[in-house]
Amino acid sequence: MPNRKPLMPAHPAGPYSTYRLFEWCMAVMMLLIALTLALPGDTMERGALKPIAEIGFSEENMAFFFGCIGSVRALALYLNGHINNFRVGPKGAIIRACCSGLSCLILGQFVAALVYDACTVSHSASLMIPVFGTLAGFEALSVYVAMLDSANRSDRLARALIELKRADV
């Protein structure tokens, strides 16, 4: 579909840089969550996330998961800043997309656990439901953004070659 309008326009700052602020925010937030979970004390046992902890996502696993994802995202975001040479492929953006998808899934599971807790256990909705729900939704959107950024930017050289071929007679 050539005339389809994209969900959001490409950023004027160049490739690999479309709306990165939210991803930076999420990467830093995941690192901080990992730190919080790694601190002594049962953060997840205390809250409404107990069912999540019971099905295997224990405190250490959660800290490990969030730490891995957050650091990989931060690294990917840091490494492909404003690079626009044809040597650099879109691997960083694809890594960003994968990490966004994983974090969207896990935040969705958080929301599910919180909704279950609000409906059956505590009979009062937690404030974390809209927070995690919104974050999950926008993480799904940042999957789109990362996939949009993952275009192979060798197009510039290819275009230049085409122009060169057209120019000589």
Binding site: M1, P2, R4, P6, L7, P9, A10, H11, P12, A13, G14, P15, S17, P51, I55, H82, N84, N85, A97, G101, C104, L105, G108, Q109, V111, A112, A113, V115, Y116, C119, T120, A136, A140, L141, V143, Y144, V145, A146, M147, L148, D149, S150, A151, R153, D155, R156, L157, A160, E163, L164
Partner: protein, 128 residues
């Protein structure tokens, strides 16, 4: 509102089903976003490169014949300078080789002197 809350409470009674439902919805949304982004990145116009970077300038061969000639002249000058440096290095290496040869000669002479002296002393001792 009461009815809605009651319906919600009646619906979300099993956590595994809720988790599977939410995970499925999330996976569907993520898959849609991946496919959509993959499709849009083919059709979306490539944005202008960031100002003030290397990417802002067109490639050299696309800048026109005058710029190309300038750059080739510059390359020729660079090559000449490189050649001068290389000949300097060649001179220095030749000097070093000469030095080494002279050192070896000196060592040879010292060795010869020593062997002659040793032989002379031995002859003197044996004769005495």
């Amino acid at each position: 509102m009461e009815a809605l809350v009651g319906l919600l409470k009646d619906t979300f009674t099993s956590l595994p089903i809720l988790q599977v439902f939410v995970g499925g919805v999330a996976l569907i949304v993520i898959g849609y976003m991946v496919i959509r982004g993959h499709g849009d990145r083919q059709t979306a116009a490539t944005p202008a490169p960031a100002a003030g970077t290397v990417a802002d300038v067109p490639p050299i061969f696309a800048q026109g014949p005058r710029e190309m000639l300038d750059i080739m002249r510059e390359l020729r000058d660079l090559g000449r300078r490189n050649d001068e440096d290389l000949s300097d290095i060649r001179e220095a290496v030749r000097g070093l080789l000469d030095l080494a040869r002279r050192m070896v000669d000196l060592l040879d002479r010292i060795e010869r002197e020593q062997s002659i002296a040793n032989r002379a002393r031995r002859i003197g001792r044996d004769g005495a």
